[in-house]
């Protein structure tokens, strides 16, 4: 499973670091939002990036969409580092990599019809010739995202649609250019709960039918388990654990992943006891030298505070950034 991914990532992040300067006046602070983040998005795979607010997960998506410039690191598309080659995203890059935003109430223009939203990328990227073809493609896109019959939607404006329908329009717009990579930043968190599964199932269909490489950014690890092939867990701007979705959820190795999993409510299972982990915000401003989780970790050892942990691989494809990973027994069979 992971072998396939190793073979051919479509889009790859290598050692992404991002430092924001926050606050103005005499003492602006340096906030380290990302540190050494590497991620591979494979054809026909869904990779979930899971973390709490401030973990840096959305910043990764924005850097890959080239809306934010990394302070250091590479974005590699088909083996070429685009950060070095193009200061801004080229039309060609946007034709390959598309983003879906969290808020479908803000990402569509209320003044324009649905047809306009979908025709614009088709024309801009030279995907259609003539009016008839343009119309046919708009109808096909609407059908693909489950908005049937398409004619009922083309002349509507975003305000006439529900949140779920709007998010489907945003997905159709991203698909218009036939991208190889879709970056979805919390695509269901603004939607009514009964409509969320529809969008997640649509992502699964796009993976299977179009073979797109999908990045799913979310704070909801249960939905990440549902849709994704791989899960990467972020804490304080670093990926602390990554691997096949079932392995990360069933055999979490990093104490932070274990905390996150224990905290999630599950209607079908009794709650797990919360590990005795100290409260605290992830360190982003005065970043400690050692492990970023050391201040809260129940298993912390002196070396954790001094030496940044290297990435270890307890099972093939399952990577954990923790000194103690080999010492701890797996939490679940």
């Amino acid at each position: 499973m992971s072998g396939r991914l190793e073979a051919a990532p479509v889009l790859e992040a290598r050692g992404l670091t991002k430092v924001f300067t926050v606050g103005t006046g005499l003492r602006p602070q340096r906030l380290r939002a990302l540190h050494d983040v590497s991620l591979r998005l494979g054809k026909g795979r869904i990779t979930a990036l899971v973390g709490e607010s401030g973990s840096g997960k959305s910043t990764v998506a924005k850097i890959l969409a080239r809306l934010v410039r990394p302070t250091a690191g590479e974005i590699v598309l088909d083996g070429r580092n685009v950060v070095a080659e193009e200061p801004r995203a080229s039309l060609a890059y946007r034709g390959r990599v598309q983003m879906i935003f969290q808020d479908p109430f803000a990402s569509l223009n209320p003044a324009h019809t649905i047809a306009y939203h979908l025709e614009r990328p088709l024309v801009r990227h030279g995907k259609v010739r003539g009016r008839a073809e343009r119309r046919a493609r708009v109808a096909a896109l609407l059908h693909e995202v489950g908005l049937d019959p398409p004619d009922a939607f083309t002349l509507k404006r975003p305000t006439e649609l529900s949140g779920g329908q709007r998010q489907r329009i945003a997905i159709a717009r991203a698909l218009a250019v036939e991208p190889d990579v879709l970056l979805a930043d919390e695509p269901t968190s603004m939607l009514d709960v009964s409509l969320r599964m529809g969008v997640l199932n649509l992502m699964l269909r796009l993976r299977d039918e179009r073979g797109v490489a999908l990045l799913y950014v979310t704070h909801d690890i249960a939905s990440a388990r549902y849709v994704s092939d791989e899960i990467s867990v972020m804490y304080a701007g670093q990926i602390v654990e990554s691997g096949p979705a079932e392995a990360v959820v069933r055999r979490p190795e990093h104490p932070y992943t274990q905390l996150l999993l224990a905290a999630v409510p599950d209607a079908q299972q009794d709650p797990l006891p919360l590990p005795a982990i100290k409260r605290g915000a992830p360190p982003l401003v005065d970043v400690p030298h050692g492990c970023l989780f050391a201040g809260r970790c129940p298993d912390v050892e002196p070396r954790c505070r001094k030496v940044p942990p290297a990435v270890q691989e307890p099972a093939p494809g399952h990577r954990v950034r923790c000194h103690l990973v080999r010492l701890r027994s797996p939490t679940e069979p």
């Binding site: 709490e52 607010s53 529900s162 779920g164 329908q165 009514d192 709960v193 009964s194 409509l195 969320r196 599964m197 529809g198 997640l200 199932n201 704070h219 690890i221 249960a222 939905s223 388990r225 549902y226 079932e246 959820v249 905390l259 996150l260 999993l261 224990a262 905290a263 999630v264 409510p265 599950d266 209607a267 079908q268 299972q269 709650p271 797990l272 919360l274 982990i277 409260r279 915000a281």
Partner: protein
């Protein structure tokens, strides 16, 4: 309803009188909250659950109007109270914590000053005693008393939400109304706060009206649950009854909308269609346009909430 019932809502109707016509946000909703229980109200946006919370405390703002029913809070009909009566009731008989409550703290006053404000405004209490009590309240919600001197901006979102919960508990109200109290918080913080609240609630035996769209969280945290759809109560049962033997097609659909973290991995369908436009609600059962089991009757007649068996009620023609 028992004599000790903390909150009894009967046939409540709330309408939003907009320029383009009236929107019936809550229609004929009845439920009781008993002493020491956590009663959950679950529903999607527009289902009327937050409107009920505001109606109970009479803090609805125009154009919302309570058009019928009664709200008995510890025996007193809230809908009959005048402004002075309402002031005596709020905080003392029932207090509210809502989603963005952490942003209601005054940024230029310390946490201690704001806690003391609540204490002094409602009870004759000397300042030193008020400060002692404020410190005790902070400790109750797991915050060190030295934060009495902190300003809200010095605290994290989770800590500010704890301060608001402490404030709501200041006058020992028998009823705490919590409307999406942890929705804006990260899941670890949410779990900590609700765990602490459950302990406090078990110790002090107050009741909670707990409102959220997150059914998983609700099943974990509540003793009984009411499911709202389109302004109506469609199912009421124990938390276990909802989790394991939900009857209403909407509730069953809602349960198919939350992927499990630790259970078997299986395909979930959610619910087809979209929630009703409350400006133009469907006739009959509000759920019939999305219901896979709808009968002809469902399109014309609104089903009433009826007992299926002991302690399990549902409003559905198919089940009756």
């Amino acid at each position: 309803m028992n004599r000790s019932t903390v909150l009894s809502v009967r046939d409540l109707h709330v309408e939003y009188l907009t320029e383009t016509g009236s929107v019936r946000a809550v229609e004929g909703v009845s439920f009781d909250v008993e002493p020491g229980e956590v009663f959950g109200l679950a529903g999607e946006s527009g289902s009327g659950k937050s409107t009920i919370a505001k109606a109970v405390l009479r803090i609805l703002e125009a154009p919302a109007v309570i058009t019928g029913g009664s709200v008995l809070c510890q025996g007193q009909d809230v809908l009959d109270l005048d402004e002075a009566g309402l002031q005596r009731m709020r905080w003392r008989k029932a207090a509210l914590v809502f989603q963005s409550a952490m942003n209601v703290l005054n940024p230029v006053m310390t946490v201690g000053e704001q806690l003391c404000d609540v204490l002094v405004a409602h009870r004759p209490i000397a300042q030193p005693l008020a400060t002692d009590r404020a410190a005790e309240l902070l400790r109750l919600v797991g915050i060190d008393a030295h934060h009495l001197r902190s300003y809200p901006h010095q605290l994290s979102g989770g800590m500010r939400q704890r301060v608001v919960i402490a404030m709501a508990l200041a006058l020992d109200p028998p009823l705490l109304i919590m409307d999406e109290p942890t929705t804006a918080l990260d899941v670890v913080v949410q779990r900590e706060i609700l765990g602490q609240l459950a302990e406090l609630q078990a110790k002090r035996q107050f009741s909670i009206l707990f409102i959220t769209h997150d059914l998983s969280l609700m099943i974990e945290f509540s003793s009984r649950i009411g499911i709202m759809y389109g302004g109506r109560m469609v199912e009421v049962a124990s938390a276990g009854g909802i989790a394991t033997s939900a009857q209403h097609p909407y509730t069953r659909g809602l349960l198919r909308s939350f992927p499990s973290l630790r259970g078997p991995r299986r395909t979930l369908t959610g619910i087809p269609g979209t929630p009703p436009d409350m400006r133009n609600p469907p006739p009959g059962c509000p759920f019939h346009p999305r219901c896979p089991e709808a009968l002809g009757l469902c399109r014309s007649e609104v089903p009433e909430l009826r007992p299926l068996h002991r302690n399990h009620h549902a409003a559905c023609h198919v089940l009756q």
